[in-house]
């Protein structure tokens, strides 16, 4: 390999660090106006009357939209593949508001100040409805019905506030537990946490010279934006163009159509370019969050440590709308249960329920993060009850190459899945290597104290997927220029992960050129081929698969031309260092000559190749996580002293970028494990919608993190690659929980592990 497997520089790195105008709002069209949203002050209310006359009189106000003057088409804001698995329970503007911060109206005005003033001048009369903020109460008797509208579709049980439900059985769970020698049962809780991307949601919408609607948006899913906006506004898809510039981080929250629909509606109405962006407060209140969950898990095992039965019972809070409700819920089981595939008896069931709280959605890890917190804490408890080293228990039970799990077939993307045999798995090596690096043997079970700081170590395993089987599809186009350089056009959306670089590496390797010979363009629904988008850990595997195929096809066409020049059969030629080279004679011709000849000289043609790739399966990456913590037993403060992650992402296309994904995910995970949590007033208002009160990790908080990639060769992946984007975030919560237990003998089941919670648990123990 010349390019793949190398730490080549990010193709967009220089532009980013030199501050080039690459982001959505770096350029605004002339004559742009500002769009702003009026938000509900109530958790649940009906809009009885809305009077915009005063606001409309304000000079500079161009347009006000509300439920009375827009189409009422139910749709989902979840940017997912088709068929859309999330319920159609959202409207551009509705007669009802369902959480504090829900959309009431939108204004377009010539300045931000005027838009703000206009929002103040809109008079809204609400009839407050009883609100429900607790998932258990939402599905209890007499709870207010949050989605009582007739038009919504795809809600599992609107009368009982159940957005989605799942019930999957394998074997006979009752028998499974009866036959088990040891059973543990645990309930873990995951609160409301937010993605906090550096760049908040933002969009510019305008009509081009042909009156087509152009939406320039910081989105992970440009093609879904086009489809969903077309539906919501009743505009033909052919009249919409979505451009995705560089994205300043997303982590899943930009897999949502949150602003594009409103900005587009305002642009259509005013015929002016409309700029909209979320403030940080809006980002916290009205973007998306991780689904808060309560997960009860029961594990049964034989005396020898073979896990025999697993029950997982999930209560997921989807907030006011059901975006990603079913698929995140499904993932809690589908991404965790196959890890311990020896268990013949499984029962995975749960509900995603509506509450009058902010809307949950896609967030890196996508349900697996919540699932692994519960599963891996329970496995630790099981090991203790069995009197086994938790590392050995995991080694005895985890899935290996050549094996399968019935779950692959049972749970898919909002429907049944597809049988799959794991073809690559280096998890065992990951466990052994990680254990060595953290010093598992020396440290586990032997808590050491340095004054008030007590140290302990804990571990957790995880797998994820690589794209969504039979749904995720990507296409790529390779265009050869006459100088032997290439354009790579992809619909894939690099949201800061470095995927443009990786795709360029795959193309460069296949075409025998340096990365510099490839210029990547992503993405524009008018000019780049379709891609489902950046989510579900899909880009390297799915989009990379498409690039590989397109590059192979381009290579075939290049060799045809080169063969004519060299007078040798194409099969005897290779592409190397910018040349077509004969294996037999060593004769060679530069690609510039090939390109020039094809374009201008003989048998003219443009060498262009487009290919598609549909995920035939979703090969899981694997990881073993190890944390060493120090707990201050007097204040309850927890410090992560060291964190080790050993991961198998197949063959890493760009090891530095893969390691960066792991490190970033771990730091993000440490944030939710130790301090992140959205807090609510009794009336459902977010109390800490800012970075002063809601803390996220900074560079100064990053502990000693050691990541190591243990390669495996995934036969279905481009150059053996699998995914790495999400898996890292599944480790910190359970590994740290288990390390805290190792240190102080107290189990914590609810993150974040604040000093307060740790101390309370410690005191509870000493009192008991």
């Amino acid at each position: 390999m010349k390019v793949v497997g190398k730490n080549v520089r990010k193709v967009d790195g220089i532009a980013l660090v030199t501050g080039q105008p690459v982001f959505t709002l770096d350029v605004t069209p002339p004559g742009a106006v500002v769009g702003k949203i009026l938000r509900s002050p109530h958790a649940h209310a009906e809009i009885v009357r809305i009077d915009t006359s005063k606001a409309e009189e304000l000079p500079g106000v161009l347009c006000i939209l509300h439920h009375g003057n827009v189409p009422r088409t139910p749709y989902t804001t979840a940017g997912q593949g088709w068929p859309e698995p999330s319920p159609y329970d959202s409207f551009l503007f509705d007669r009802k508001v369902r959480f504090v911060g829900d959309r009431v109206a939108a204004v377009a005005a010539t300045s931000e100040e005027i838009a703000d003033e206009a929002l103040r001048l809109i008079e809204v009369e609400y009839r407050q409805l009883p609100a429900v903020l607790v998932p258990e109460e939402a599905i209890g008797p007499g709870a207010p019905v949050i989605h009582d509208e007739e038009e919504s579709r795809g809600i599992h049980d609107p009368q009982h506030n159940v957005a989605a439900a799942i019930d999957i059985r394998v074997g006979d769970i009752e028998r499974g537990f009866t036959e088990s020698d040891v059973v543990v049962e645990t309930t873990c809780e995951f609160p409301y946490v937010q993605h906090v991307p550096l760049e908040s949601h933002c969009v510019v919408a305008y009509l081009d010279e042909e009156d087509r609607l152009v939406i320039r948006s910081a989105t992970q899913v440009p093609f879904h934006v086009r489809r969903i906006v077309a539906r919501a506004l009743g505009v033909p898809l052919s009249r919409i163009r979505v451009i995705k510039p560089r994205i300043g981080g997303g982590f899943g929250t930009k897999q949502e159509i949150i602003l594009e629909d409103v900005a587009a509606a305002l642009a259509l109405r005013t015929r002016r370019p409309v700029v909209m962006k979320y403030s940080r407060a809006e980002e916290f209140v009205a973007a998306r969050t991780r689904h808060p969950m309560k997960i009860r898990i029961k594990l049964g095992a034989k005396r020898d440590g073979t896990i025999h039965a697993i029950e997982m019972d999930v209560l997921s809070n989807t907030g006011a709308y059901g975006t990603h409700s079913l698929t995140v819920l499904s993932n809690v089981g589908s991404k965790t249960l196959p890890l311990y595939n020896k268990a013949p008896h499984l029962w995975f069931h749960g509900k995603a329920v509506y509450t009058n709280l902010p809307v949950a959605g896609a967030y890196r890890g996508y349900g697996a993060t919540q699932g692994y917190f519960a599963l891996e804490v329970a496995v630790d408890e099981l090991a203790e009850k069995l009197g086994m080293d938790p590392l050995k228990l995991r080694l005895a039970n985890h899935i290996r190459a050549g094996e399968t799990s019935p779950i692959f077939e049972k749970i898919g993307e909002g429907r049944a899945g597809k049988a799959q045999v794991v073809k690559s798995c280096a998890l065992e090596e990951c466990i052994r290597e990680g254990a060595k690096r953290i010093g598992w043997k020396e440290k586990h079970g032997k808590k050491t104290s340095e004054g008030r700081w007590v140290h302990g170590v804990g571990m957790a395993l995880s797998m994820q997927g690589s794209g969504i089987t039979d749904i995720d599809m990507a296409a790529a186009t390779i265009v050869m220029n006459e100088d032997g350089s290439f354009r790579l056009l992809v619909g894939a959306t690099d949201l800061g992960t470095g995927s443009d670089t990786i795709l360029a590496q795959i193309a460069a390797e296949t075409l025998g050129v340096a990365v510099e010979a490839i210029s990547v363009y992503s993405s524009d629904t008018d000019f780049t081929p379709f891609d489902t988008g950046a989510y579900a850990s899909s880009t390297t595997y799915v989009s990379g698969g498409a690039v590989l195929r397109a590059a192979q096809e381009a290579r075939r066409r290049i060799l045809e031309v080169a063969a004519a020049i060299l007078g040798e059969p194409p099969e005897s030629l290779d592409l190397e260092e910018g040349h077509a080279v004969s294996r037999g004679t060593g004769k060679k011709v530069p690609l510039s000559e090939v390109g020039h000849r094809a374009m201008y000289v003989t048998d003219q043609r443009h060498i262009i190749a487009t290919a598609s790739f549909v995920a035939p399966e979703s090969p899981p990456p694997f990881a073993a996580f190890f944390a060493e913590v120090a707990v201050d037993v007097e204040t309850g403060v927890v410090r992560v002293v060291k964190f080790v992650a050993a991961a198998d992402c197949g063959m890493p296309i760009n090891p530095a970028l893969a390691e960066g994904q792991l490190e970033g995910a771990i730091v993000q995970g440490i944030g939710h494990t130790l301090y992140e949590e959205l807090l609510f007033s009794p009336r459902g208002r977010v109390r800490n919608p800012n970075l002063f009160d809601y803390r996220i990790p900074t560079a100064a908080d990053v502990p000693d993190i050691e990541v190591v990639l243990i390669p495996s060769d995934e036969p279905t992946g481009p150059y053996g690659a699998k995914s790495i984007g999400e898996i890292g975030i599944n480790g910190p919560a359970p590994a740290i929980a288990n390390a805290i237990y190792d240190a102080i003998g107290v189990r914590l089941y609810r993150i974040p592990f604040t000093p307060e919670r740790v101390l309370k648990a410690l005191h509870g123990k000493s009192m008991g």
Partner: protein, 283 residues
């Protein structure tokens, strides 16, 4: 309303006359770290006092004088501050916010904003620091502790804090803070100081606690308890116990009163231990 005018005050007199001229609709601006988080709606004029020639740090016998517009980072790095009480004050600054904010925020701004959760007031109250301010008529001074008992917000609508004076102490201080992560404000903080007499007994003790979540206060009952005793681990534990009964704590979004009570005792014990080691040269 919004800001209509911005002034650079060339000296204290100009700052004061501008402030008077605005009749309550003007505000003094130092680092702006706090003001930027929200201005009173009636404010029309901002008067930048960082140009008034107040910045500077100088040793004053065994004590220290710090001009009001001196930035927190300048204090942290200054030789004079590092020479004062073994660098205690400089080290406290290292606990405050983040470097970019410390490069802007001033000591005067910290004294006047007087956030209950802040660290600087706790240190200043423990140290017995004295605030010096001027209004159009006169110059006044009072200990920061005393200042906070007065209607100080009203005072500084008409006056300019010019300097903070730190007295000499024969002994040592230590500071403790518990926060959620780097750069966060305190869930609880404390500053403790001790001095020993010729026989190794505690000649004086200063114990201040902040972010309880109320503004920094001294706990004289704990100080009295310590005075004339011989330093020992047991004594710190007893003092911590006393602390638990004396300290006034409350709940807020960040932490409960119950946790604060336990944590306050823990950090006071530690700070006393560290201060004592500073005195005896153990640290």
């Amino acid at each position: 309303m919004g800001i209509k005018r911005f002034h650079y005050a060339r000296d204290v007199e100009e700052a004061l006359s501008l402030l008077a001229a605005y009749e309550g609709r003007g505000a003094l601006l130092a680092g702006g770290v706090d003001l930027a988080r929200g201005l009173a709606p009636e404010v029309e004029g901002l008067i930048d006092v960082t140009t008034a020639g107040l910045a500077g740090i100088s040793a004053d016998g065994g004590g220290l004088r710090v001009g009001a517009t001196t930035t927190l980072e300048a204090i942290r790095r200054s030789q004079e501050a590092q020479g004062y009480l073994g660098g205690f004050l400089a080290k406290v600054m290292g606990h405050v916010a983040t470097l970019p904010l410390r490069n802007m925020a001033t000591l005067g701004g910290a004294v006047v904003s007087a956030h209950p959760w802040a660290d600087i007031p706790t240190a200043l109250v423990a140290l017995g620091a004295e605030a010096v301010w001027q209004n159009e008529e006169l110059t006044e001074k009072a200990s920061v502790e005393e200042l906070y008992r007065r209607p100080f917000r009203a005072i500084f609508r008409r006056a300019l804090l010019t300097e903070v004076r730190f007295p000499a102490w024969d002994g040592a201080f230590a500071f403790e803070k518990v926060a959620r992560n780097a750069g966060d404000i305190a869930l609880i903080n404390c500053a403790c100081g001790l001095g020993l007499d010729g026989e190794g007994k505690i000649a004086w003790a200063r114990v201040a606690i902040g972010a309880t979540p109320h503004r920094a206060k001294r706990l004289t009952a704990v100080e009295d308890f310590l005075t004339d005793e011989a330093p020992s681990e047991e004594l710190w534990a007893e003092a911590a116990h006393k602390m638990k009964t004396e300290v006034e704590v409350g709940d807020d979004m960040r932490a409960s009163a119950e946790w604060r009570r336990s944590a306050a005792a823990a950090i006071v014990r530690r700070a006393l231990d560290r201060a004592a080691k500073g005195v005896t040269g153990d640290a």
